[in-house]
């Protein structure tokens, strides 16, 4: 059985059909890329999975549990963590504080009016471990808003990981980055995937990143599913080529 099961979801905004009957089955431990030309509905599709937008029709099932009627913050507790196309962090807090907040949430402390003494050490260790894994230790004392694009993205990804998710959703993790930063972020995602066998779904524009990371690829065009397959199958697919070349022409 697939870990994330999306069954012909649709989203209508008035008469505009942004996502039209898209299905996707992601296996546990898989890294899936969702690609498509601009306006293909990729981010809307993501927002349907995470519950940021309500479905017009269809179903989202995570590990056998139907997500209908479950609000976004609760879906996070059930194991769905995400990053955003435009990085969402806490700009006026330091990197360490940025990571501390989700670590404390994951430890169930977010309503706690004091830090329990017996958890203090484990929380601090977890923060340092995440900073280390994300390559953020040396800049942990700096304000997150001051960091480069790539470092902010690494910070956001580590914040998502701090929640111990079962499914990691990354919306264009390398958007707007130069080659070096793109490479660094892709390497980080690859390492996370290899070491933790985390199930990852990512939207990505940069095809080098997609072919480097993804086990399988889902292609959307104008809100509809266009193709699905391994990177080699997608490269060879004539309809995909037509959609991309048509978009460019």
């Amino acid at each position: 059985m697939s870990f994330l099961k999306v069954e012909s979801v649709s989203k209508h905004f008035g008469s505009l059909v942004a996502v039209d009957g898209v299905s996707m089955n992601v296996q546990k431990g898989e890294c899936r890329a969702v690609i498509g030309p601009n306006g293909a509905g990729k981010t809307t599709f993501f927002n349907l999975i995470t519950g940021m937008l309500g479905l017009t029709s269809g179903r989202v099932v995570l590990d056998g549990q139907d997500m209908a009627g479950i609000d976004p913050s609760h879906r996070v507790k059930l194991g769905m963590a995400r990053t955003f196309q435009i990085t969402e962090i806490f700009p006026e807090l330091t990197v360490r504080e940025n990571v501390r907040i989700p670590v404390e949430v994951a430890a169930g402390l977010h309503l706690s009016p004091r830090m329990p003494a017996h958890l203090k050490a484990s929380v601090n260790d977890r923060i340092e471990q995440l900073l280390e894994e994300g390559g953020l230790t040396r800049i942990a004392h700096r304000y997150a808003g001051e960091l480069s694009h790539g470092d902010q993205r690494a910070c956001e990804i580590m914040m998502a990981l701090a929640l111990n998710p079962r499914l990691l959703l990354l919306d264009e993790p390398t958007a707007g980055m130069g080659d070096d930063e793109t490479h660094a972020v892709a390497r980080l995602i690859k390492r996370i995937h290899r070491e933790s066998h985390m199930t990852i779904v990512l939207i990505e524009h940069d095809m080098r990143v997609v072919f480097n990371l993804a086990d399988r690829i889902t292609v959307l065009a104008e809100g509809k599913p266009l193709a699905e397959g391994t990177p080699a199958e997608i490269t060879a697919n004539e309809r995909v080529q037509a959609a991309y070349l048509g978009g460019a022409a």
């Binding site: 700009p91 504080e97 907040i101 404390e104 009016p113 830090m115």
Partner: protein, 317 residues
């Protein structure tokens, strides 16, 4: 845990000034009731700032809870029992309860809508106090009561007879309230509030139930606000419906903004400036509010982080 003098320098200065105030107020042309008022209004502004500065939500109706605390203490002493502590307890309880019940209707709104709904609820209380003549005294205010001396087993504090005894009583309550606020803000819960202020969407997608956290913050903030309101009524031995009025809520916001919303003690400084200016200017001109307005405009234009924000920046440079 070691005490870091440098990090707590500001708190040390604040406490040194507050604790020694009775020794020097006369020499700077002030009087004990004025410093007491600074402390009371400082507590009110700091309570509002718990929500405004540390949760990032603007309430324009906090006077409602200030007024509930004030009327709670006044009505209790006048009609139920002549005890300062009982009055204080009733005032705070009423304010906290009202906040807890009204909160769920407010916390789903954001920005200007949140502010408008808070004003609306505040005005409801204003009109009740204004119209319910035979209980509240209506527009004339609630009179014929005064704070009582405090008898503890080992000592008697002459709250009514000695302005300094009352000052230290107020300061003790202030210490408890601000101490609790500081503890909460340093806790995981406090960090979650700051996370909501910084980025609500990120917070929601970290699995934080944002509305519920804002509700808790709202109740904490309003509870301390009603403590301040109760102390204010005790200070004046009087309360009138203007304690509820929305312009009073605006005054608390002005204090926070002038002093600096991002710093813990900023609102206290803002309150001190406001209260002292008001005291001085109102004896010189009936148009004192326009001068305070000018100061406020200047602060917003030139020191958007408030007085304390400027001092902070200087210190860190």
């Amino acid at each position: 845990m070691r005490f870091d003098v440098k990090k707590n320098a500001l708190s040390l200065v604040v406490w040194a000034l507050l604790l020694t105030a009775p020794l020097w107020v006369d020499r700077v042309g002030a009087y004990p009731e004025l410093v007491t008022q600074v402390v009371v209004m400082g507590l009110a502004a700091m309570s509002l700032n718990f929500l405004l500065g540390y949760t990032g939500v603007l309430s324009f109706g906090h006077a409602a809870y200030f007024g509930l605390g004030a009327y709670g203490v006044g009505l209790t002493i006048r009609y139920l029992m002549p005890s300062t502590m009982a009055g204080l307890a009733v005032g705070v309880l009423v304010g906290a309860l009202a906040a807890a019940l009204i909160g769920p209707m407010i916390v789903r709104r954001r920005g200007v809508y949140f502010a408008m709904v808070t004003i609306a609820f505040g005005q409801v209380f204003y009109f009740i106090a204004f119209r319910w003549n035979n209980v509240t005294g209506g527009d004339d205010g609630l009179t014929n009561w005064h704070r009582e001396n405090l008898h503890l087993g080992f000592a008697t504090f002459k709250l009514m007879d000695s302005p300094y005894d009352f000052y230290y009583f107020v300061l003790a309550v202030f210490a408890i309230c601000t101490g609790l606020m500081a503890l909460i803000l340093r806790s995981p819960f406090g960090r979650t509030l700051i996370a909501i202020r910084e980025n609500e969407r990120r917070s929601r997608f970290l699995g934080i139930n944002v509305n519920f956290h804002i509700w808790v913050s709202w109740v904490v903030s309003c509870t301390f606000m009603s403590v301040a309101g109760a102390l204010y009524a005790l200070l004046n031995n009087f309360v009138d419906p203007r304690a509820f009025y929305w312009s009073q809520s605006g005054v608390f916001v002005i204090m926070c903004v002038m002093g600096g919303m991002r710093s813990f003690w900023g609102p206290l400084l803002g309150a001190a400036v406001y209260v002292v200016l008001q005291d001085y200017l109102s004896s010189v001109t009936p148009n004192w509010m326009s001068f305070i307005g000018l100061v406020f405009v200047a602060v917003v234009l030139f020191f958007p982080r408030g007085f304390l924000g400027v001092l902070r920046r200087r210190a860190s440079e």
